[in-house]
Amino acid sequence: MTCGRTNAGRDQTVLRNQAVLWDESISRDKSVSRDKSVPRGDSVPRDKIVVRGLRKYFPVGGTLLDRILGTQPLVKAVDGVGFTIRDGEVFGLLGESGSGKTTVGRVVLGLEPATDGEVLYEGRPITSGLPRSLRRSLQIIFQDPHASLNPAMTIFQGIEHGLLIHSSLNRAERRERVYAIMEKVGLVPPEVLAHAYPSGLSGGQRQRAVIARAMILGPDFVVADEPVSMLDMSIRARILKLLLDLKDEFGLTYLFITHDLATAKLICSHVGVMYLGQLVEVGPARAIFEEPLHPYTRALIQAVPVPDPARARDKALPHGEIPDGIRPPSGCRFHPRCPEPMPECGWEPRDLQDLIDRRLLELAEAQGRTGPAGFDVRMVEDEANHSLMVANKPALLRLIDAERDRETPLGRAIESVEVGQRSVKVRFRKPVPIPDVSIGDRTVRCLRVARD
């Protein structure tokens, strides 16, 4: 897809007669015609969306005083994300739950102001909100088809509303367009379904209605936030097909958010893998799926279930779960779960605590009992010094010595151990910044990859 949608729908190869959903003549904002600012290169795909250094922090919890003073803890939902989506691409944003995928999508669409960073649409900055004339060019399809339709509006009213806002079409014209798009997305017969309420439709039909609502405005960039993850498997394939067909027909560009790697592999041309608010690997889908470089990407791909009992196997999964975004791990955010970390990856006091927890578990398992097993887990953390103090010296010292002897990355990251009167002070190496490495048309954020 290199041609994309051209002005006023004159490109008949892409927009076959019937398929014109929108041209500038029906727009309310006649003054602002699309694409004026950017001269159109002929065959080189242009940058549709450019995201640079995007950050989004949410204040969460905290006491009333915190709220008044504005010193609430912040969730770093998106913390320095940058990527480029070119015209006609399907860019997949992958990652575990809570990694910030949805937040990226919402900020890109201007539904949420960015804390920092920049979003460009066809070269125009849209970080400070979308101008009204662009609103309809950028649309979104939500994950939950049950929640994203207004229960008090009929399907017709829901789909029509965009036209009411952005066009000066009369009633009959609007109806014609709504019915046309309903047919396009497979909501047939439109005459019947148009007057149903969302509660009267199945999940698949609702998702089609959501798609129709987005498509009727003739967008050229669509954020699809897990558009099929709530759907039944047999409907899933149909909706994916519909999305692909619409893309081909209208020359759309997608930001496709998903945690289903198999789907991403099938339909995305490029992917970005997110972990705890950051992109750890970005590049062409084929290359990444064939040879994932980042340990996290590898782990994700490993974890995908294979629908073949003969090949079901125990996997080397990253242990634990995605940590809290309020105080992300220092250094590489993946280091506590990384299967092959290095001493420089950002070890810190918390990791020692986790180690103690895990060791406790192992001890308990070995001895067939539970409860405290020799550690007093009272700790005093000292962020600034990257050190920690623990009561109960002997057990801790034994543990630390074992780590150092075995030359585990954690053990090697311990810089010094000061044995005090009643406590042990453990100091860790300062984490080094994790570089973004470019390899071919791929970018990977990992120290190990950088070294190799």
Binding site: E96, S97, G98, S202, G203, D232, M233, S234, I235, R236, A237, R238, L240, K241, L244, H259, D260, L261, A262, T263, K265, L266, F289, A299, L300, I301, A303, V304, P305, V306, P307, D308, P309, A310, R311, A312, D314, K315, L317, P318, E321, I322, D357, R358, L360, L361, A364, E365, T370, G371, V377
Partner: protein
């Protein structure tokens, strides 16, 4: 869907061959030696009665669960999977008509009193659902959950209950030190583990999981599946796993039942169902899974039947590429392709008969 049709042809040919090969085996009663049956259902039907109509959500199901085995029920939405799971524990709403027989370790579940059932469900059968937060009280610590659950079934001190809770948490990989935390302080995956731990304190023999991993993401899901697998090996737990994710099914199942329109239309070992699917629906379902090797999207056209007015014949007839007049008339009989592999499909039955004639 041309590709699919071709594939189904192939599947059918396979099935017929398999059937022919297994004629001998099929006549043997399917009893699994050395395996203890935990639950068996015979000719089980569940009809919901609503004000306007009767929903035949589960119809003439035969099912056996063994110790140390995972049995997975798969199928599209609204095919009656949850209903079957609930019926096995007699957890259906009042006024629902249940016929047939369910024997759980020698007791007929359908004739037990409310109190006996409650005790059974609390202790010997455990249940976990998709959304753990609906089952966890946000105002209670995890410890309190364990204490309340245990004390409602046996006279036991707080301390002892907490200790058993700690042991159960340990078994599912949650640090026992977090016993005093509140549910909201845990992530979704952790909560699901806690639910499993809560189910495990009673050392149940049967664990029923209704879409318990559906809302989790791949890594956590894989972790929980791994956990379930190890539990079944360690404690000889029988697991009934209800899901519509075929990837999950392949990962952990020993047996698979494919449900469609209220019927279990095909069941067998995981290998039989995945490698030699005999029912056209199973084939279509397997084709529609998007997995890492998928190069083209495919699906089954149409929708599952409305169970409020199910068709008289094969429920799949409207969507089946192989359907014949007979399919619209009568529900297909059971064909046994092996001791474990059983299918309801006229085509398969005809193929079997042919194979038998040929011999």
């Amino acid at each position: 869907m041309n590709v699919e049709a071709v594939k189904i042809e192939a599947v059918k040919a396979e099935a017929v061959k398999a059937g022919a090969r297994n004629v001998e085996a099929a006549t043997v009663e399917p009893s699994e030696f050395g395996k203890e049956t935990v639950l068996s259902a015979r000719n089980l039907s569940t009809y919901y009665r609503t004000k306007r109509r009767v929903v035949k959500a589960c119809e003439a199901v035969n099912l056996d669960l063994y110790r140390g085995e995972v049995y997975s029920l798969v199928g599209e939405s609204a095919c009656g999977k949850s209903t079957l799971g609930a019926t096995l524990m007699n957890l259906v709403p009042d006024g629902t008509e249940v016929t047939g027989e369910i024997v759980f370790r020698g007791r007929n579940v359908l004739t037990l009193s409310k109190e006996e059932l409650r005790r059974l469900r609390g202790t010997e059968i455990a249940l976990i659902f998709q959304d753990p937060m609906t089952r966890l009280d946000p105002l209670m610590t995890i410890e309190k959950h364990f204490v309340e659950a245990l004390q409602s079934h046996e006279p036991i001190s707080r301390r002892e209950a907490a200790l058993r809770g700690a042991r159960a948490l340990d078994a599912v990989g949650v640090p026992p030190s977090r016993l005093r935390d509140y549910p909201h302080q845990f992530s979704g995956g952790m909560r699901q583990r806690i639910m499993i731990a809560l189910a495990l304190v009673f050392e149940p023999v049967l664990l029923v999981s209704d879409e318990a991993t559906t809302s989790l993401d791949v890594v956590v899901q894989a972790q929980i599946l791994h956990l379930m697998r190890s539990l079944k090996d360690r404690y000889g737990l029988a697991i009934l796993n209800i899901t519509h994710d075929l990837g999950v099914v392949a990962e952990i199942s020993d047996k698979v039942g494919v449900m469609y329109g209220g019927h279990v239309v095909e069941q067998g070992t995981a290998l039989e169902v995945f490698h030699r699917p005999a029912h056209p629906y199973t084939g279509g379902l397997l084709n529609s899974v998007v997995h890492m090797g998928t190069t083209q999207l495919s699906w089954i056209d149409g929708m599952p039947p409305d169970l409020g007015s199910p068709p008289p014949g094969c429920p799949y007839a409207d969507r089946c590429d192989l359907e014949s007049a007979e399919c619209h008339r009568s529900f297909p009989p059971e064909s046994r392709l092996s001791a474990t592999h059983r299918v309801h499909c006229h085509r398969v039955a005809a193929g079997l008969a042919q194979g038998r004639d040929a011999q």
